[in-house]
């Protein structure tokens, strides 16, 4: 009797597993940023979303080792380089969605249609107005000029954001010119490169250096913690770089469908939903990033920085040129 009860129980559990639709996601975007979205999705559609977070490297190694038996349907990363790499390793599947194509601008999508950006992470300058005037700032390239000697702060070249930035510069100017710029940056450094953007912004605010290059949402997070009336006075200000030239360097946080997805349709639906009006605010605002969907207005703090011109080179370039960029920075002595 007891055995019967148990087996019935087990059957019903298995049955439950088999029938509730699930989408399984491998994500390097951290759990507290995406979980609320997935919860909302589950509430709306009844589809369960299972997430496993890790760094990009291990996630890709994992996908590769699992091969056709991967439980993952979808991959989310916080930069374009790793999506490009996943696609390059044959871990992703091409999808064509009218919804996504309408919602997300072309330069934020893979030309081969294997991944799409879901939020925009802009990398620009912060400066300390008591040490330098906004008029003195112009482009990333200009920061290599000797007039900034001892005034520049940079984050480590090991961070993918800087690798993308330099990769995009290579796409624009070629390696020789870019290497000159990077060497100029290194010569202008006020102190050792930082391990993270937050520390860098604090160093600018404290006057250790006059200007630095950071992702905007790190500044956003600092401002977010301040009372609304104190934000204006914070001594690190944002400056939109390269507005008169090719525009601010942007990276994306994005997603693709895995090559051996078990629930391909489900994954596509989830990506479409994430690109939609409803989800975009939640996706971007949670981390004070910019929505990838241009129709959506950003968070209060984020929109207070005003509109800006984005560099329109396709994100895939960042991935393609990442290796070159890293080697170039090694040569230039950018730690």
């Amino acid at each position: 009797m007891k055995r019967l009860t148990l087996s019935v129980l087990a059957m019903s559990l298995l049955a439950g597993w088999a029938h509730a639709e699930t989408v399984t996601v491998y994500s390097s975007r951290n759990e507290q940023l995406i979980k609320p979205l997935f919860d909302a999705y589950t509430k709306e559609t009844g589809v369960e979303v299972k997430v496993l977070t890790d760094k990009e490297g291990p996630l890709l190694a994992r996908l590769q080792a699992e091969g056709s038996n991967t439980p993952a349907d979808m991959l989310i990363t916080v930069d374009a380089g790793n999506l490009w790499q996943a696609s390059n390793m044959g871990l992703l599947k091409t999808f064509n969605s009218k919804v996504v194509n309408e919602n997300i601008p072309a330069h934020l999508r893979d030309p081969r249609g294997q991944w799409t950006g879901l939020s925009v992470r802009a990398r620009t300058m912060v400066y300390n107005p008591s040490l330098i005037k906004a008029e003195q700032l112009s482009t990333y390239e200009d920061l290599a000029d000797p007039k900034f000697k001892g005034k520049l702060c940079l984050r480590t070249s090991k961070k993918v954001y800087n690798q993308s930035l330099v990769g995009m510069m290579i796409a624009q100017h070629g390696e020789a010119k870019t290497e000159q710029v990077v060497r100029g940056w290194v010569a202008n450094l006020a102190t050792d490169v930082f391990a993270d953007d937050t520390k860098l912004i604090e160093a600018v605010a404290a006057g250790q250096c006059a200007v630095g290059i950071v992702n905007t949402y790190y500044l956003g997070r600092i401002l977010d913690k301040l009372p609304a009336d104190k934000r204006e006075a914070y001594p690190a200000k944002l400056f939109w770089a390269n507005q008169k030239t090719n525009g601010v360097h942007v990276n994306i946080s994005g997603a693709g469908i895995t090559r051996f997805a078990k629930n391909e349709a489900g994954a596509l639906k989830l990506i479409e939903w994430l690109s939609s009006d409803k989800a975009q605010n939640l996706y971007a605002d949670k981390d004070l990033e910019f929505p990838a969907n241009p129709k959506i207005k950003a968070d209060v703090i984020v929109s207070s920085w005003g509109p800006f011109k984005q560099n329109l080179i396709n994100m895939a370039k960042a991935g393609e040129l990442q290796g070159k960029a890293v080697q170039l920075m090694d040569r230039a002595g950018y730690k």
């Binding site: 951290n30 977070t53 091969g67 604090e202």
Partner: protein, 531 residues
Amino acid sequence: MSKHSWRGAVLALPIALLTLIPLLVVLASFLHPQPEIWAHLGQYVLPDVLRNTAILLFGVGFGVLLLGVPLAWLTAVCEFPGRRWLSWALMLPLAMPAYVLAFVQVGLLDFTGPVQTLLRELTGDSSWFPRIRSTGGVVLVLTLAFYPYVYLLARNAFLTQGKRALEAAQMLGYSRPAGFWKVALPMARPWLIGGLTLALMETLADFGTVSVFNFDTFTTAIYKSWFSLFNLTAASQLASLLVLFVLVLVLVEQRARGARAYHGRIVAAERIVLTGWARPAATLFCLAVLAMAFVIPLLQLLVWAYSVLATDLDARYWGFTLRSMLISLAAALVVSVLALVLVLLQRHYASRATRLTVQLATLGYAVPGTVLAVGVFVPIAWLDNLLLPYAHALGYEGFQILKGSVAVMLLALGARFMAVAFQPLESAMQRVSRNQEDAARSLGLSNRQLTWRLHLPMLRGGALTAVLMCFVDVMKEMPITLMTRPFGWETLAVRVFEMTSEGMWANAALPSLMIVLTGLLPVILLVRKAE
């Protein structure tokens, strides 16, 4: 004995395979040469990285001895105000993950930190303040994080030596300080080397701390090849060089230890009572280390954690903590049992082959966690792929059999932390003398009974140390947990990863704090036990 020279090795092999298979996966990378990357690395990356790694090893090695040995000596042999509570308090930094200590110390002491900010407000200048984000800073932080390994083992050695050896030296004309250098220290060498080996292996494998300092080491070169140059193969090749280096280190250690047996005798503790200036100096020294390595970082963590308490702390934290503790305890038990088997095999079948096999089993500790994690995952995924068609034929609907199972996670953690459990057990085994074994045999004990009635009871202390140290280490472990955990398996360390990966240090403080607090209990037990 020579008749059985292969027997021990064969018996130890299954356990060694836990580590060897991942290492072989890593080594297999040499099947695919990567000349381009190597040309680049060789010219622009490796020279710096090798120099830095060497500096780090010497600096941290010297540092942990410089702190660990005097602290152990003071608390084990001397008497001074506060000695009793300091002797256990000085172990507490073991509960503090090195990367946490790193981000706290940098947060406190860098240009923008409260210390320098205050200095600027008071004097208008802080430019004379030593730079924390420097070689000295990394060495300091890693030293503060890893000295407890030396402290713990050296203290054990000094406690068992007692004052007697020192008195013997004094009777032969040596002053107390001279006797310390000539006798107490050399006699403690196996323990010191044991502690030093653990500290250096941790240093070699460390990624979290050096990345907070942006200090380029061999490990950062490995990660650069993998994450930035998208070349896991080159990264594995670098990692296997690292393993080779560690193997040499371990063999040198074995040789240095030589054939000498050290059978300590517990001598009734008669302490040297410090007098004059030495009394407050001893107390101050201990307090300073404790403050730097534990109290100040803990306070900073508390401040940060408090600032996010309202938003971040929710009911899930019970689950994180519970899972952290469960997995740590289970892994600690599994690893300790396996290490115990190795120690026993090494004793029963003493031969070069056995020793080598056992040594191989402990190498996982020096491999950067993430690299080892891949080495673990690849063969498991392969096995899963092999099994899945049959499972599916039987009606199984999932796509993971071994992958993402707690059992595999435990084995992977075992591959990583074997050395941690092995060191204290081996030290304990060294105290079981051949005479005691012979005595037991002469009383009619078979080999098996010898194990149950002599070895295991005498290894009890070492086993407890092994379990507790592993517990604390697994608690802090990140990459293997991330790679092998089941879906939705969130622990405190995973939580710390989630936060730090986005540079949210204040938010990372909460789970870090809970890691420290959860780790405190075993650490305190560990010291109580040593008393």
